[in-house]
């Protein structure tokens, strides 16, 4: 894990640190957007092997273009567009090579479909929430992670056990942690 101070840095500041040669900043950037980038090809119905290739390609492209990103505050938008472009490129390439059935789906998806746009804006929203969860204090981060992100979802008894909390305090602690989370989200413009 990169040091926690990267969690509160804006994308533009992390990019500056990358350009200064800080490998931890690069790792922080990848951890921040790993799910966003990896999930896009899967949303298109591409297989995991393609998602792996696309994931690598997008990070290589970012590495090449880091210094000339015009608007660093819109890194998320750049990543989404670049990933979608890679999905199309790789789908076309593989189709020419193997003509497998894997890529029938992507070719039947109209890329300007508004429902598809909803999928991407929702992915950005999920990314924003995960980033906010990372910025919580460790107790709240653990609790929210166990409550919402753990699969299979543990029971309140199990959570009380893991976090060493009285069973009766899970509910109120959950409410307090969600309040903190919403405070962070509010400050990042989440609606």
């Amino acid at each position: 894990m990169p040091p926690p101070d990267f969690l509160t840095l804006a994308d533009s500041e992390i990019i500056d640190a990358c350009l200064a040669g800080d490998a931890r900043a690069w790792e922080a950037l990848i951890l921040r957007y790993q799910r966003l980038i990896y999930s896009i090809p899967l949303r298109y119905g591409l297989p995991e092997s393609a998602a792996d290739d696309i994931f690598q390609a997008v990070w290589m492209l970012l590495l090449e273009n880091l210094a000339r990103l015009r608007d660093r505050t819109r890194l998320v938008a750049w990543l989404v567009i670049t990933t979608r472009r890679e999905c199309w490129r790789q789908a076309r390439q593989r189709r020419r090579m193997a003509d497998g059935p894997d890529f029938a789906l992507i070719e039947n998806l109209p890329d300007d479909d508004s429902s598809l746009e909803d999928i991407f804006s929702r992915l950005e929203q999920l990314t924003l929430i995960r980033m906010a969860v990372q910025r919580l204090d460790s107790r709240c981060r653990q609790l929210i992670t166990l409550l919402f992100y753990a699969h299979p979802q543990p029971s309140y008894e199990e959570i009380a056990d893991i976090l060493d909390l009285p069973l009766g305090s899970i509910g109120p602690t959950r409410a307090r942690c969600l309040e903190k989370l919403l405070g962070i989200l509010k400050s990042t413009g989440f609606e």
Binding site: A23, I129, Y149, F190
Partner: protein, 196 residues
């Protein structure tokens, strides 16, 4: 007006309030209270997203390769420096330009360097000059730096038409360096002197 606590709004969204408490919040919202309405919809959106996050993390090995790419990245090739050549100077073209009075006090210069033309105008004012220019051709984006005695004293970005402008600078000798990703084009020994 007292607004319901966050915990109450959360319970409201999760439908775990007793009937009377729920009615009280309904009444408050009907007030209307836009602040609480916005807060409620934000809580709803966040809970919905938290409960339905179906994003997928890449396998450990995929992640590791992307992280490792940073150390393996090729070092940026050193920038090539090219000296620009003066091809036009209205002061030299017409020796009278300098003495034609305030209307003609702008000096116009045109430089050229491998595939790049740089149009410069120097406007003189009290004790200094403004420098306005346009880069024609070449790769974008460019940063233009003004050096004096080996130090950068100002830098500006060229716009999408290649135009740039510096704040008034004191009279003196400068180097103007146009930097893009792969190279820098230098106008060396630019004399900003009012020839009048």
């Amino acid at each position: 007006m007292t607004h319901p606590s966050f915990a109450s709004l959360l319970d409201y969204v999760e439908d775990s309030l007793p009937r009377e408490a729920r009615a009280a919040i309904d009444e408050h919202l009907a007030g209307p209270c836009s602040q609480c309405s916005v807060e409620l919809s934000r809580i709803r959106a966040a809970l919905g997203a938290l409960a339905n996050d179906d994003t997928v993390a890449p396998p450990e090995e995929t992640l590791r390769r992307a992280v490792a790419a940073f150390r393996a990245r090729p070092a940026a090739p050193p920038r090539v420096r090219i000296a620009a050549m003066l091809v036009f100077d209205n002061y030299r073209q017409s020796p009278l330009a300098a003495v034609r009075g305030p209307a003609a006090r702008a000096r116009q210069l045109l430089f050229t360097a491998e595939g790049l033309d740089i149009d410069l105008q120097i406007h003189f004012a009290e004790g200094g000059a403004t420098l306005v220019g346009q880069i024609l051709g070449g790769e974008q984006p460019s940063i233009v730096r003004l050096h004096r005695a080996g130090e950068v004293i100002d830098d500006v970005g060229a716009d999408s038409f290649g135009r740039f402008a510096f704040r008034p600078v004191p009279l003196g000798n400068y180097d103007l360096v146009i930097e893009s990703d792969s190279r820098e084009v230098a106008i060396e020994g630019l004399e900003i002197h009012d020839a009048g």
